[in-house]
Symmetry: D2
Subunit: 346 residues, 4 copies
């Protein structure tokens, strides 16, 4: 039994980790913390755990964490884990960080997108960007995995085969993403207040979202050239799900079927990427509660533009599910263990 | 491996059975049928099954059904299974019927609430009303289980301890239930058209819903007297979930704590009933996707009236999950096998 | 032109007042205040007013208020207007208070339900409980109108004809109400956070909601006997609307048609009460954005119980619309001026 | 009083016309038809009209229509009005067609996008494409106005100033639109069935939506060159609202402020276009129930790309409201009469 810990269990990604690890079967949830609810049982904060799994929430202690867990998931707000993770790595623990702290390779890029100084820049290069379909082998050997953001997961899986093949004409690239409200986390805010968010659709952080940093970093690495693109996220009046609609031209002409074969080969053997046969198009409800990423391709022949559409559950493939997938790789489990479930629909 | 069949796999309850049986581990899904989509793979109708489990939908044949499955779930519209089930029982197959056809013990009651003649009345007494928390021992020995309706599950679990204890003053009993839209099934209709159903709340079949028949039958049996009550269902703009608010006076005075103890004893050892400690009240999202029934009790001291509130997922504890729970009992599995999952929240 | 002021313009009821007064045509919005946004234009807080009507939000000053407005709407959180209203009344201004401060006639009742001492009890008897269908004549002469709560409006309109006729057997009375989320106001909270409130249905303040106080007071007065009843409110995942399902027995036997005639006579000439012909039942979307209260009646013959169902828009007939209706009466306008609009559906 | 008729009153756009014309004050609704509900009162189909305005739905008769109305709104499914409108025009009646039948100037373009032959091609050039902010003068003189589609309204208002100024580099143009479910009309379908549409987000008709035809026609005319672009519509789980996110490069370099001034000048005096000051971005709830089109501009300096975001209510500015605006121009009313209302929010 792997002893796993969750630092920050009462937020949405922390709570989702409990759900998935409970179903996993090979993991003991040995240590969980909550800053705001230390000393309470998890079910006092999230009553839906009552009678199922109900660990005590503790205050974080680096010593206890390293003694009581072999691997630790960090599910804290951005900017906190960089202060805590190094201590645990030094004690030989493995860490999967669901925040943005270790996703960027260069401290300058971190500064640019998060507008503060990184406190542990020496770990930035060591950390593996944990998108397992692209970096499975590196993840297996990693001590520190930076779990990708929700938007980046949906975008990179839709573009990786093209970038790796040198087909991505990045100057034509536009990414229009739409997310359910759980992506913004559990803290109440005016924008997420039900009467303001229901029956409403809007864009936010137009061409200025911090996830651009990691997306451009990873795409540039795949493409072998420094690139950037326009990214606009939107808020959908639903709880879970991200759908990204990606527009680009190719560096050299390919037919829709050729592109589909390219994707099909690139993701061969990858359980959680589903390339939809036409005329199917992704919809977020078809991946609800699951670790799947659905992808469809459509060539707009009239304009010589490829449209790639992807859908994920932001809390699963976009966060906790992907973290468990990374844990499986790091700890020697089958990659899909505990994650091969049917989406809940309707 | 138990070989299980689903008759009517493409409706919501049939589809939910596939999801749950896939996670069960002790069952082979050996035979599935669909009247409207015979000859197609399940994923052609429900793309979210793509790459996970994808049986061929066949036309129903009594002969094939009895040869290829040991136990059959019937998930057809009301009024159809009574024509097909007897043939399978005669061939020694076990049947769990998710429709209303075998829930009522008397053909007169069936005629009253469904306004037609029953075609196989001789099976009405043989069928076990499959609410496992109340009738687990009978279900274990049954060949034919009538799976309870969604509203009745939420109401009977909230009233059974009181009725069995002789405390239920039925002349004061009022049941106000609220259901998500999936309870009405998969066929499009004006009332369930998104623009009419979203941002809307309404009552329907006021004091005239056919589920009154089975609720009154089962409560009468528990209470040992013929009773009836006022039942009003409502439609909530959400997909899944039923919440029932139940109002009654007791035949003799009891404190809230005494009633809570009564419930606690009655459901001791029943995994799927959760009695919430005050001040918690049930909410449908806390049982989403799961087989749990959450119950809270509140004595309105000012008016001498007890309020019982229950919440279930109508497609799980109210349909497919309860059917799998019944299958577990009939086939000798652990009662909670495949069903002990954490609700998906948020 | 009547000069009207709104104290607390940035909350949901204050903002709705602006919408309705803009459409009224006989009113000049001469003075508006906001504690939290003083010094800003309304459109800086609520951009949907941009380019339409955009008053400056000021800090409240009793002197300015009384100088610049003839009639003042108070749309503050409960417990604040009782400190401010007396000063304005003494200067001869008319006041409509949308909070609960002046709804209860006795300070003891206020203390019981709001758990604090009233600071201006001498005004409690002077204030008119502003349900215009019942108290239109008193409202016309009033200086201080206490605008009813949203739940009470939906319940009292459904029961007044019965109470006035002496038919209400209050010991059998149960009221099960369901409200959209805007009823809880504009301040973010965990319970109203979109991911917690969407796809969810729950009860709250079970048999303990403070609106019981005013409902029981008014019903008792109508019935001529002190009465109480069980009231359970619920939260619906929608923005606007209240539907109340009311269960009771009558003191003497009446047929459904007789009751319908009673209601029809009681509300003759009342524009905003619509008695629905069977088999229509109220739905909240049919009154969306409007000042109507829809009512349906159904006798459950099997149990000798009458079911009354009512629907209103909680922000209009349940708050700002009713306040404008009261203003019309107080200021000598036609009662329905500015309010005779078609509900927005779908 | 202008006598107005509505052909096809029971669909969503027909019904919305009744709501708006009732509030107009200068129009008598003298003739309404419904194919499916002829002989019934409007309130029998749409109970929310009960007691407010309740015309009898008749079967369409060209003779009665021309006798009883001066101006007729056609709100029929696409492909029907082209058979009926010519007869009325010949009798001197004015017509506003809300369907697509007369929007395209060339029958070849009609054939391409609607895949059938036009039956009255001689009227295609006569019809004025009724986007009043662009063609107000033509509309005033028109006998036949083709009311623009909902998506085209949201897109053309966002691009017209750029196209007219010769700045639009159409080869870089990508339009990503998102619509509420009421845009698909009142007929139930699997895709719009509440359990399938709620908690779900998806694209549809990817790069193949028939509205491309009219958008490209009108933009080409404005730009003075034949152009095309990639257009992908999406379905949002809400009732009303369209938000379009538009991406493009300019033919010559301009700063964000210069573009804002260009828009500001172009729409000077146009009541229903609101250019939002930064950092405001449009949201559909800010135009709910109203005739406004909100627009924001953002220059993505990193990629030299302009992002234009627009929001409308698809049933008002995208259909019935725009039709009333056209009627006002054709009949000599003030352009904004009956339409200057505050959006309903929340």
């Amino acid at each position: 039994m792997l002893r796993a810990g969750i630092i920050g269990v009462t937020g949405y990604t922390g709570s989702e980790l409990v759900r998935l690890l409970y179903a996993h079967g090979g993991v003991e949830l040995s240590y969980v913390t909550s800053h705001s609810h230390a000393g309470r049982q998890l079910s006092e904060v999230h009553p839906h755990y009552l009678g199922i799994i109900d660990p005590l929430c503790r205050s974080f202690s680096a010593e206890e964490a390293s003694e009581e867990a072999d691997l630790l998931f960090f599910a804290l707000p951005h900017g906190e884990s960089m202060h805590l993770v190094p201590g645990l790595l030094e004690k030989g623990r493995k860490v999967i960080d669901l925040a943005a702290d270790f996703r960027l390779k260069e401290s300058a890029r971190y500064r640019k997108w998060y507008e503060k100084e990184h406190s542990a820049p020496q770990y930035l290069t060591e950390a593996v960007y944990g998108l397992p379909e692209l970096k499975g082998e590196e993840v297996k050997k990693a001590s520190l995995v930076a779990n990708p953001g929700c938007y980046p997961t949906s975008v990179l899986l839709g573009l990786a085969p093209l970038a790796a093949e040198g087909l991505l004409d990045w100057q034509t690239l536009v990414v229009d993403s739409k997310s359910g409200a759980s992506g913004a986390g559990r803290n109440p805010s005016q924008a997420l207040h039900f009467p303001e968010c229901a029956e409403n659709f809007k864009a936010y952080r137009v061409a200025a979202h911090q996830h651009s940093g990691e997306m451009e970093q990873e795409l540039s690495a795949l493409a072998g050239e420094e690139l950037s693109f326009t990214f606009v996220p939107h808020l959908v009046p639903m709880v879970r799900g991200i759908l990204s609609t990606i527009y680009l031209r190719l560096k050299s002409r390919r037919g829709e079927d050729e592109i589909r074969e390219l994707f099909s080969g690139y993701y061969a053997g990858k359980d959680f990427v589903r390339l939809l046969p036409p005329p199917l198009v992704p919809e977020t409800s078809a991946v609800y509660g699951s670790n799947y990423c659905d992808i469809a391709l459509k060539m707009d022949e009239r304009n010589g533009r490829l449209v790639v559409i992807t859908a994920i559950d932001n809390l699963v493939k976009g966060a906790a599910g992907q973290a468990v997938q990374n844990m499986n790789l790091m700890a020697g489990f089958e990659e899909n263990r505990g994650l091969k479930t049917v989406p809940i629909k309707p």
